[in-house]
Symmetry: C3
Subunit: 155 residues, 3 copies
């Protein structure tokens, strides 16, 4: 069935953005063999960073979770571009690294990054289950609360 | 010789835990081709997180090193599961990323993560020598002091 | 043309250091298949760490950028060793992870890590364009301001 994942995105009410273009000497993804390495995606929505601040101080775990889901949406947009538009070529979400801008003493990084993990499984089903690291960092580009990068296997 | 690495573990007095089960929409490892990507492992021992706190404030470099060794033990348990129980299939420990919950001004992350690096070489010999990154972060899941993830090549 | 990248380095006035030797049970790089995983490189110059401190507090964005460029130089030195001295074997810079020791509220990690990204493109041209993550951390080994690790595809 062609467009299986596109249909699933529609069902979930998720509209992918145009994959953000590079703004420097790095690119949003590199395909090497059958692996796609996607650059760290932040909480961009229609060209503007969302969910700014430090989780556990400025913003809640719940909002952090929403931020992570938005990062994951942007990852999927990049993977779609890497696949020439055909997300059915995704064999497996291999690894996600989730970085959470964290207040001192904040230790619920997993609950935040679940926002990204859950979207991957919502969209790709079992192929969306991935290895993951979640850590709390001092700060992130543009002051966003969450950044997630990833490795995807494609056919 | 079958069970070479199991014998080495016994010699070292290291008993691997049952590989921890996933608690969310991510999994402890993904095998892609001949590479195993293992999720970030923390200092779990018999189901409880150990060595909580911030290195350089709450706990010492020495305890951090012990914490990293425990993370490495848990990584090996996951790799064993990924290999269907046969650790002799490990060709090479390729990369470890070590995250140390660090006090402001703490800069001995390498001495901490050596606890993980040393265990890999203790167990796998030269095949245990790996590329590595060690960084100091703001905080980690459940308040543990160290998290380590890794990439392993298997046959 | 043999020595194409060496010639480019000369043109840029960049002299690569001898690849730093391992100081522990980890190694500066691991070659697995056609991928080179390079350990986190810091701001070593002639055996001494440079650009110490926290970006946004002790040192400026501009100095951080210079620090990142130095890390990238050291990455290239390791890749050269991994290639048996022949940098023309580099097919693609696949991924860089940039860690910036950051003051609270500092959010210009991309401007810092551009120092590494720019050097990759200066040296390797389009093959130097890579996926990237840039995050702000609490602290780094030896008190350096920047650490960068990377994955390279070689032939």
């Amino acid at each position: 069935m062609a467009g299986r994942i596109d249909a699933r995105l529609k069902e979930l009410g998720i509209e992918l953005p145009a994959a953000a273009a590079p703004v420097a000497n790095y690119v949003p993804y590199v395909v090497s063999g059958n692996m796609v390495h996607v650059a760290g995606q932040i909480t961009m929505l229609e060209g503007k960073p969302q969910h700014l601040g430090i989780v556990g101080a400025d913003i809640s775990v719940e909002e952090g979770n929403t931020a992570a889901r938005l990062c994951a949406r942007n990852l999927i947009a990049q993977v779609k571009a890497a696949c020439g538009g055909d997300l059915d070529r995704v064999v497996r979400v291999v690894k996600l690294n989730g970085f959470v801008a964290s207040a001192p003493g904040f230790t619920q990084q997993p609950a935040v990054i679940n926002g990204a993990s859950d979207l991957m499984v919502d969209v790709f089903g079992d192929a969306g289950r991935h290895a993951r690291a979640a850590v709390g960092v001092m700060g992130l580009p543009l002051g966003v609360s969450v950044e997630v990068d990833g490795i995807f296997e494609i056919s």
